[in-house]
Amino acid sequence: MKTVYCSIHGFGAIGQGVAEVLLRKKEYLESLGLEVKVVAVVDSKGATVNPEGVDLADCLARKRTAGTVALESISGVEIIQSVDHDLVIETTPTNIRTGGVGLQNMLAAFQTGKDVITSNKGPLTLKYRELMETAKAAGSHFRFEATVGGSMPIINLANEVLAGNKIKSIKGILNGTCNYILTRMLEERASYNDILAESMQLGIAETDPTYDVEGIDTACKLVILANAIFGLDVTYNDVDVTGITKVTPEALEMAYERGHVIKLIGEVSKERIHVAPRLVPINHPLAVGGTLNVASVETELAGEITVTGKGAGPIETASAILSDLIAIYGN
């Protein structure tokens, strides 16, 4: 049995999802010869640390009742630097202006020779090249499937499963909130603002929906795909971005009468990175509804491959993190 010692940084929806999935998949991981021990769980107020492994069920219960997992006041970077472990699971909130605490955590992890699995887009959007180089210099694994499309496999699909194929372009819906809003506006013939309010009530849109509805979140995901799959060295500023705030129910209806839906489509190739609302034929593989994400990968040999799945949700995102964990330590 191989023991993987890890720390979980960020204990919001995704961090808790990871804890839950690790508990649920304990026996399965053991069947692969893996024992995963979490030596620290960190949230914005502090951390729980135990070099022998914390009790994840306890952490989840404490978070639910006390609102924090913190038992001591120690930062993520301090834990990475002082507690011996193999893997940093980084699920702190995305900050695309500074990279936030996530960037600090990742750099500290590589500097101390640890592997990193993350769902946090910010650092990858800002400092992809630097992070990759630091990871490489340290001989660390760095995986981030969960940053794009939640549970839907896309980075590992293009780089590993489709290995040998040149990827020509990727097009798709990479933001579930926008997809939900556009789908519901058409269904209800309701205005953008009405459906946005509904989405907030349901927790599908955040209180500040700017990242999602202005296309920023989609653009960040395209930046990650451009760097990780197309080998480019680009940042958010290289993306041509238009969001969905101007889309009207009348436009959706007129398009629908002519056999089209309007979707926020992200598109990336070596030549261009682009986010905008587009007309999609209703029988097109990218015309999925609700909060679903979808991506079509245009390949050199395999033709077009389309994947669709849940783009958000704690357990779904944790599933991508789990698959990265197994990819690193499973063999």
């Binding site: 097009k171 101007k246 889309v247 009348e250 436009a251 007129m254 002519r258 587009r278 999609v280």
Partner: protein, 167 residues
């Protein structure tokens, strides 16, 4: 060349075959047939629109053969436009001059706005338009879209293009 042909068929069995025979005989390539079954003419015939590709010198012969078969040929015209797309425009589509937007496309000579649906839900609310643009060829269509994009930027309109078009 591509030709559109409006013909009228008598409402009895076997008429379509009589219409298609001369086309096959003179090796015209039939692109589309639109059969307007609901729209009877005052002569009780059924109007049918054909689009076909053929050598220019065959057109008159085909027309004569059709008439010989008792089929009335109402109109023959060159079908110039091969490319067609729908574009959605959202914003103050009307107040910023919809006619001017259409003129910019029509003025090119290689593209035309052929259909327009418009929705203006209220003053101070965004209007939406769905425009169908025909163009002579693919490149012309791209040029027309570039013009429309420039106009849209100037008028602060959101232009929604089909997914298979290079934006």
């Amino acid at each position: 060349m591509r030709v559109s042909m409006d013909i009228e068929l008598k409402d009895v069995p076997g008429q379509m075959l009589l219409a298609l025979q001369p086309l096959s005989e003179y090796k015209a390539n039939l692109i589309t047939v639109v059969h307007h079954h609901q729209k009877r003419t005052p002569r009780k015939t059924v109007p049918v629109k054909l689009i076909l590709e053929t050598r220019p010198e065959s057109i008159e012969t085909i027309k004569a053969k059709l008439e010989e078969n008792g089929i009335r040929v109402v109109r023959v015209g060159e079908h110039r436009f091969r490319e067609s797309i729908n574009v959605v425009l959202i914003g103050h589509v009307v107040h910023t001059g919809i006619q001017d937007t259409i003129d910019e496309i029509d003025r090119t000579g290689f593209a035309e706005v052929v259909d327009l649906s418009l929705s203006m839900p209220g003053i101070n609310m965004l209007s939406s338009a769905l425009m169908k643009i025909d163009a002579v060829g693919k490149e012309d269509l791209q040029k027309a879209l570039a013009i429309l994009k420039e106009v849209s930027t100037k008028k602060d309109l959101l232009m929604v293009l089909p997914i298979d078009i290079q934006a």
